[in-house]
């Protein structure tokens, strides 16, 4: 059986790492060096006392590739825990985007109306622009950005996905 015959699925993988120089390069180098995809990657310190950071990676591949990615990540020295949130129990995912929309008149009103439907907040406003803040899953953000395109979308900044398992378990 070759990997080719299997379908590729997106997986969200949470990784707990020592917060030290080069750790992100180790992770991204692993992905580029072995030809794996990164669809989104976020990283920030989560424990100051223990000096730990958490990386959330959204990647896609066949089950065999995903298994490899997890095994390869697990054997890096600064990595403490690796969890595939997509298959290991239920989890919640969120992403935040800042979306700048320019324009005036009817389109400006329409963008504000859609933002309201999506529960996006206005962070900044000038006479010719809005900056919206929107939080949700990746699909919701993409849908919102898609709708803003004809209304004068100027710029987008997205955080990438952060995710956490439901229930009482820690990573």
């Amino acid at each position: 059986m070759t990997p080719k015959q299997e379908t590729e699925n997106a997986h969200t993988i949470a990784v707990l790492v020592d917060n030290e120089p080069g750790v992100l390069a180790r992770v991204t180098g692993l992905f580029s060096g072995r030809g794996y995809n990164i669809e989104s990657l976020t990283v920030a310190e989560v424990s100051n006392e223990e000096n730990l950071s958490r990386i959330t990676i959204v990647t896609s591949g066949t089950p065999m590739i995903i298994e490899q990615i997890k095994a390869q990540l697990s054997r890096l020295v600064p990595i403490h825990a690796v969890k595939d949130l997509t298959i290991e129990g239920p989890s919640v995912e969120r992403e935040l985007a800042l979306v700048k929309v320019g324009g005036s008149g009817e389109k400006r009103v329409e963008s504000l109306r859609i933002a309201d439907i999506f529960r996006a907040r206005v962070l900044d406003s000038t006479n010719e622009s809005f900056v919206f803040e929107i939080v949700g899953d990746t699909g919701k953000l993409s849908a919102f950005i898609e709708l803003m395109k004809p209304l004068g979308l100027v710029d987008v900044s997205r955080t990438g996905v952060v995710a956490i398992a439901r229930g009482t378990e820690a990573l």
């Binding site: 070759t2 020592d18 080069g22 180098g29 060096g33 095994a71 697990s74 054997r75 020295v77």
Partner: protein, 587 residues
């Protein structure tokens, strides 16, 4: 002692001594001068001065692989570190424990493109198991101890510790290894008993089993080879070894099928292809072993024992994965096999051995030594005959045809006797590696079975060999070609030998003499035995230049991208089984 102020360099050397290091291979330079000054002032560590940093890493690899200890390298910043990269990659691919200490410009100059500055941790990140940049002397002892722990633990590999000059000059306090809590990196060594039990059941029921074992057995220590031998004999099953695994099971044993893979034996590869249960012990299903992946051993259940979880299901999906150290797992397997009183189906096993004997009868390694030209296989076979009964023999090789012939014709009865560059295929590995082996085993017979193209890549190490009076023997199969390149050009590129002929080769006898070694030459088959006898009698370094058949090809051969049962047995086979376009892209 523990609270005494020392310099960073002294702390570093104390770390090495406490990690049981006795020899280091290195080359000085500006950024490591404080460390060299500290070396000058002590006697616990012996420094071997190589002639180029690549030689230092390969020497440390030979040292590590022949002793089971961690090999230690010390090089300067910039070019010192970049020259070490090939050796580090080699050690990573072959899982050799190395700690490579690299000098670095002082911390306040890092990032300024200072003289002899290179981003060593950046450059070596993908070619080491782990690497460190030590930014303060307070972190030095802990980092060096952790580096040794990582290098030798789990699946061994190279670790780089980058040492800025100001850090090794600064005063600090030493912490011994037993005072340091290593929080990180704790690989699983005991295998899951349920999986082991399942594996034993599968094995006991098997009608056509095969053991396929690799370098992991050797890395697990001599006990693992003993346990493997014990278990294979207990079962009565056939056993084959990878290039890296040679010596893990005695070559003279009737249950040994020889090496498998691209240039492995017919019987080993066919047994792999036709088996119904395969036990992979410390090997990694790499492309030289599997050939065409979707036709690899199609009908078998596969058991895989490996300490590295990322080796499991990487290339080949296995049915029973067992993560753990080979020796631990084999010990449990033997216990369970005995307690369950496993009784293999003797009738089926007899049939399986009959089949294997039919394959063996093909005599796939046969060659004919006739006429005036020395066949390379003959030269190695004579060398083997002359040295097989000697006590303490180590063989290293370069990379190419001679390497494959050495693997095919030299039999190893014990682990840690065979040093070769398997995964990376680094030409120029053999001579410095032999040098490292000889440093570790001063009284042993160390032979580099070499090709002329490879050995020239690190020929400068003859000077190191001379300086330390290392009686390394270079058994040079000289065909004046990059033999394996030429063979592929013959088989795949219509005999257009683009740039594979070596013109203007040195006179190796004179070259040996210029380095204070002895040069010998054999040009006729009748000269070979005499040359070997003479070489073995000399207690200095020798280059034995054996002029062999220029156009001999290495068979058997599974062309890249073909299945095991599509093996080419000899020159007469190649016309019948032309190589496809698809496999041309493979190497």
């Amino acid at each position: 002692m523990a609270n005494q102020q020392m310099t960073g360099s002294e702390i570093l050397l104390k770390c090495l001594v406490d990690q049981d290091v006795t020899e280091i291979f290195g080359y000085p330079g500006g950024a490591v001068l404080p460390i060299y000054d500290a070396i000058f002032n002590q006697n616990a560590l012996r420094h071997i001065l190589v002639r180029q940093e690549a030689g230092a890493v390969h020497a440390a690899e030979g040292y590590a692989r022949s002793t089971g200890k961690v090999g230690v390298v010390l090089v300067t910043s910039g070019p010192g570190a970049t020259n070490a990269v090939t050796g580090l990659t080699d050690a990573l691919m072959d899982s050799i424990p190395i700690v490579c200490l690299t000098g670095q410009v002082p911390t306040h100059l890092i990032g300024n493109d200072a003289f002899q500055e290179a981003d060593t941790t950046g450059i070596t990140r993908p070619c080491t198991k782990h690497n460190y940049l030590v930014k303060t002397v307070d972190d030095l002892a802990r980092t060096v101890h952790e580096a040794f722990h990582v290098a030798r633990g789990g699946r061994p590999g190279p670790v780089v510790v980058d040492l800025p000059k100001d850090v090794v000059q600064a005063p600090g306090v030493y912490t011994p290894p037993n005072k340091i809590k290593l929080k990180r990196y704790d690989p699983q060594v005991k295998g899951d008993l349920k999986a082991i039990k399942q594996a034993v059941e599968l094995l006991a029921k098997s009608k056509k089993p095969v053991f396929y074992c690799g370098g992991g057995v050797i890395n697990s220590g001599p006990a693992a080879s003993q346990l493997l031998t014990q278990f294979v004999r207990l079962t009565g099953y056939p056993c084959t070894l990878t290039l890296m695994g040679l010596g893990a099971y005695p070559a003279s044993d009737p249950q040994f099928l020889g090496m498998l893979g691209m240039h492995g034996t017919y019987e080993a590869n066919l047994a792999m292809h036709d088996c119904d249960v395969m036990v992979c012990v410390g090997a990694r299903f790499d492309d030289r072993i599997t050939g065409k992946l979707d036709e690899f051993s199609p009908g078998s259940k596969k058991i895989h024992i490996d300490i590295d979880p990322s080796s499991i299901n990487k290339n080949v999906r296995v049915d029973v994965p067992i993560i753990g150290d080979v020796a631990h797992v084999l010990e449990d397997m033997i216990k369970i096999w005995k307690s369950e009183q496993a009784k293999p189906d003797q009738k089926a096993l007899k049939g399986w051995w009959k089949q294997i004997d039919e394959w063996r009868a093909k005599d796939c390694l046969k060659y004919t030594q006739k006429g005036d030209v020395i066949k390379p296989q003959y030269a190695i076979q004579r060398l083997y005959e002359a040295t097989r009964n000697l006590d303490d023999v180590f063989i290293t090789t370069e990379v190419g045809q001679h390497q494959m012939w050495a693997a095919q014709f030299y039999g190893f009865e014990e682990p840690n006797r065979w040093m070769t560059s398997g995964g990376l295929g680094t030409m120029g590995y053999g001579l410095p590696s032999a040098m490292g082996v000889q440093v570790a085993h001063p009284d042993a017979l160390v032979i580099d079975i070499a090709g002329e193209a490879s050995v020239i890549m690190n020929i400068q190490e003859m000077s190191t060999i001379a300086q330390y009076r290392l009686p390394v023997k270079v058994f040079l199969l000289n065909n004046e070609y990059m033999g394996m390149v030429r063979q592929w050009q013959e088989l795949l590129y219509g005999g257009r030998y683009a740039e594979s002929y070596m013109e203007s080769l040195p006179d190796f006898v004179k070259l040996a003499e210029s380095f204070g070694a002895v040069g010998l030459r054999a040009e006729k088959p009748g000269d070979v035995d005499g040359l070997i006898k003479e070489m073995l009698a000399i207690d200095k370094a020798v280059i034995a230049d054996v002029k062999v058949d220029k156009l001999e090809n290495c068979f058997p051969m599974i062309p890249a991208g073909s299945a095991h049962n599509k093996m080419l047995l000899g020159p007469e086979d190649k016309a019948e089984k032309p190589v496809t376009e698809d496999s041309m892209v493979l190497v």
